[in-house]
């Protein structure tokens, strides 16, 4: 897989499968062995050809890797200095605390960190497209979306330090808990969107009462799970106002996206009967414009929509992963040239919309955020043991209460050695 496939230059044509001709899906003959006809391609060659065609699909792009802006006819976006500087600041701050998360794990302060490095454009673009009334369902890498939903980065630490499973209120923040079981949240999002339809908060077109939409975040690997297939079936059946936002970062741990699909992922939307769009996931403006369009479609009752943000996981899968075992450094270097932050910086400089003071200011703000993030992490204390028993049910239950009481009484016997019960022995 080449890093630059389709990402090179800005393109004017939207690749929306809803509009594609009906014969667009070609079929290979995987597994049929050698070609029966001399000179005809073997099944493997057919598949290779399909993949080559796939990677030539041009994503929607507004800002090229060189920092050149070209408006897009289908996804208009009013771009001014405030917007650009805001998006730049978002991305820099998110990247900075993400790097701090990695460092904290290396220093033993977190048991794991899930880096978003490289996906800042895909996340800040989508995150800033959300309106306050929209609902978002993240997987586990969506630190940039969390940021846009107003979740303080320190709120993310508990999951990775092991002090909680989730700390924010999903309803108040309109940001569901991080979901680790691949694909689960996408069905949940489809159901939430069904609720929005039942509640009549879709397609009202009343400026007094803004319509709502739901967005579900998942990866390229996740698209193979039955849950996601079922989510798309349900959303299609009920015209649900849900944006399926797939961050295709090319890898599912060690498996390249080719293991998951013979067609570009956004093409799948067509099979479910709704539009699919591939967007340059390293172009924050394109991600913003396309996601805004997709959410608008959903809010006005034209959902669902699939958006494939074509991006790259620049770091390891998690801090437990060793990507040198399965991918080459060349690949990463090619994608470095497509960095989502750098192209905005270049554009800001070139167009004179930001000066050095601005960049220095953002850098200083990022360092301060990282310092606060770190301090907060170091100060986090483990929860008390009775946390194990809390909120298992919505109200107390006698049997569990008894289990808790007996256990706490047992622990009290170790009062002289408060940590005695906390050791995993042997």
């Amino acid at each position: 897989m080449t890093a630059s496939g389709g990402d090179g230059a800005p393109h004017a044509t939207a690749t929306r499968t809803g509009d594609a001709p009906p014969d667009e899906h070609r079929r290979g003959a995987l597994g049929a062995g050698a070609s029966p006809v001399a000179g005809a391609p073997t099944p493997r060659q057919v598949v290779a050809g399909l993949k080559a065609t796939a990677s030539a699909e041009d994503p929607v792009q507004l800002l090229s890797p060189e920092g050149e802006f070209t408006p897009h006819p289908d996804y208009p976006l009013d771009v001014d200095a405030d917007l650009l500087r805001g998006l730049y600041r978002d991305m820099v701050l998110v990247r900075r605390f993400d790097r701090e998360g990695n460092a904290l794990q290396r220093q033993g302060q977190l048991s794991i960190w899930v880096p978003l490095l490289g996906q800042e454009g895909a996340q800040i673009g989508a995150g800033r497209a959300l309106a306050p009334q929209d609902m978002a369902f993240p997987s586990y890498r969506e630190h940039g979306i969390a940021w846009c939903r107003g979740i303080d980065p320190t709120e993310l630490l508990g999951i990775f330090r092991g002090t909680d499973h989730s700390s924010w209120d999903p309803a108040a923040t309109r940001f569901h808990s991080y979901t680790i079981v691949i694909g689960n949240q996408v069905l949940n999002a489809a159901g939430y969107a069904m609720g929005q339809v039942l509640d009549g908060v879709v397609g009202r077109h009343d400026p007094e009462r803004p319509d709502e939409a739901t967005i579900a975040f998942f990866g390229d690997g996740a698209t193979s799970e039955g849950d996601i297939h079922e989510a798309m079936v349900f959303a299609g059946s009920f015209d649900s106002p849900v944006v399926f936002y797939c961050q295709n970062n090319q890898w599912a741990i060690s498996e390249p996206v080719e293991v998951q699909s013979r067609v570009p992922l956004f093409h799948r939307a067509r099979g479910y009967g709704f539009p699919g769009i591939r967007v340059d996931g390293n172009d924050v403006l394109a991600c913003l414009a396309v996601t805004r369009w997709a959410l608008d479609e959903c809010r006005s009752g034209n959902g669902p929509v699939l958006v494939e943000a074509f991006t790259y996981r620049m770091d390891a899968h998690t801090t437990s992963d060793d990507p040198t075992r399965y991918r080459t450094a060349d690949e990463g270097q090619a994608w470095n040239l497509l960095d989502p932050i750098e192209r905005v910086r270049v554009h800001l400089v070139r167009t004179g919309q930001a000066d050095q003071a601005f960049f220095d200011g953002v850098a200083a703000e990022a360092d301060a955020l990282a310092a606060r993030f770190r301090e907060h992490c170091l100060a986090m204390t483990p929860p008390p043991p009775d946390r194990i028993f809390s909120h298992v049910y919505s109200e107390p239950h006698r049997q569990l209460d008894r289990q808790r009481a007996e256990y706490l009484q047992y622990l009290a016997g170790f009062a002289d050695t408060p940590d005695a019960g906390a050791q995993v022995h042997a």
């Binding site: 002090t163 741990i253 060690s254 194990i388 049997q399």
Partner: protein, 347 residues
């Protein structure tokens, strides 16, 4: 000694173990066992997420794709129902698939296939079709992981007739049990104690050292006379430590490794309880409706008049697995096992 007795003691190496017994991690032993099975039978396939080039997130399948090829060590799409469902089809076609589920908490998308097909094909077809497939699941807590990476779902599978459910606890058992699981014509849910993957124990991998009988049996790890303590997988070292600590206080614990969780091999447990009169069963899984309850009920029934105390259980609590910073409180540890031993003795 009968062949079965032989099998039950084979994993216990004498202090003067022959030089062929090498200190081996449990992870490496599984890797060696998989390799041996693949060499012995070309129909053995490995499949799962990241099992190929990466060698699995725990490296259990390390180097196997390199040595056996992409057709025998298959990186599958990210879909557990897909992995198990296609493994069923491959088994129907004469293969012996070994499916890896990456973590305990991720087996549930496959649960339908496991309950509805894997477990029932033999019964439904009156033995005309067989399900020689193995589903490997790293399980248990204690590794400081995020949610869904530390669960003990074994009882969910034990409740399903037609599945064999086993758990290994040592390098030697890992090596021989995985081979027996692969050779078995029934589906085997093979639980691996992930927090013990990197612990070393002697492994004699010579064919001559192959256990004479089945390894899907309960085995006495350490003889004792006061209280029987039984468990499986990750808690075995906790029991061994408890036996050491109890010995220092003049109490003699008999340690049993259940190994087979379904069908259970309870005869050795009952026989032991007839001598000790006391039984403590240990498991990381929640207490309610767990196999520990099954063991307690059945031992009570079979050895009622030998019991000097009720069968006691030390387990996780009836809660979801907690955040890892409190898992030390959740997991049965040395102190909780000894506390139960005391209670059994002082009953």
């Amino acid at each position: 000694m009968t062949a079965l007795d032989d099998a039950r003691t084979a994993a216990v190496l004498p202090d003067d173990a022959p030089s062929q017994a090498r200190p081996t991690t449990l992870a490496k032993a599984l890797n060696m066992g998989l390799r041996a099975a693949m060499e012995a039978d070309p129909k053995v396939l490995l499949m799962g997420e990241d099992v190929g080039k990466l060698g699995g997130v725990f490296r259990i399948t390390d180097s196997l794709q390199k040595d056996f090829g992409e057709h025998r060590v298959i990186d599958t799409p990210l879909a557990e129902s897909g992995i198990v469902g296609t493994a069923v089809g491959l088994a129907l076609r004469g293969y012996r698939p070994v499916a890896e589920i990456q973590f305990d908490g991720f087996v549930f998308p496959a649960f339908d296939q496991i309950v509805s097909q894997v477990a029932k094909v033999t019964y439904r077809t009156q033995g005309r079709a067989r399900m020689p497939l193995v589903i490997r699941i790293p399980f248990g807590g204690g590794i400081g992981a995020v949610e869904h990476h530390a669960e003990s779902p074994e009882s969910l599978f034990c409740h399903v007739a037609g599945l064999r459910v086993v758990a290994c606890s040592s390098a030697a058992d890992a090596y021989w049990m995985i081979q027996e699981a692969i050779a078995c014509d029934d589906p085997v849910i093979f639980f691996e104690p992930k927090r013990r993957y990197w612990e070393k124990a002697p492994l004699d991998a010579r064919p001559a050292a192959r256990p004479a009988g089945s390894t899907f049996t309960s085995v006495v790890r350490r003889a004792g006379s006061d209280v029987t303590v039984a468990s499986y997988g990750p808690s075995l070292p906790v029991l061994e430590a408890a036996a050491d600590a109890a010995a220092a206080e003049g109490r003699s614990l008999e340690v049993i490794d259940l190994r087979a969780l379904s069908p259970l091999d309870l005869d050795p447990v009952v026989e032991s309880v007839r001598r000790t009169g006391r039984l403590v069963v240990v498991s990381e899984a929640p207490l309610e409706s767990s196999i520990t309850a099954d063991i307690a009920a059945r031992v009570t029934e079979e050895a009622f008049y030998s019991l000097s105390a009720p069968v006691l259980r030390v387990a996780g609590f009836d809660t979801p697995y907690p955040p890892s910073k409190v898992e030390g409180y959740y997991l049965p540890d040395l102190d909780r096992v000894l506390d139960a031993v005391d209670r059994a003795i002082n009953w």
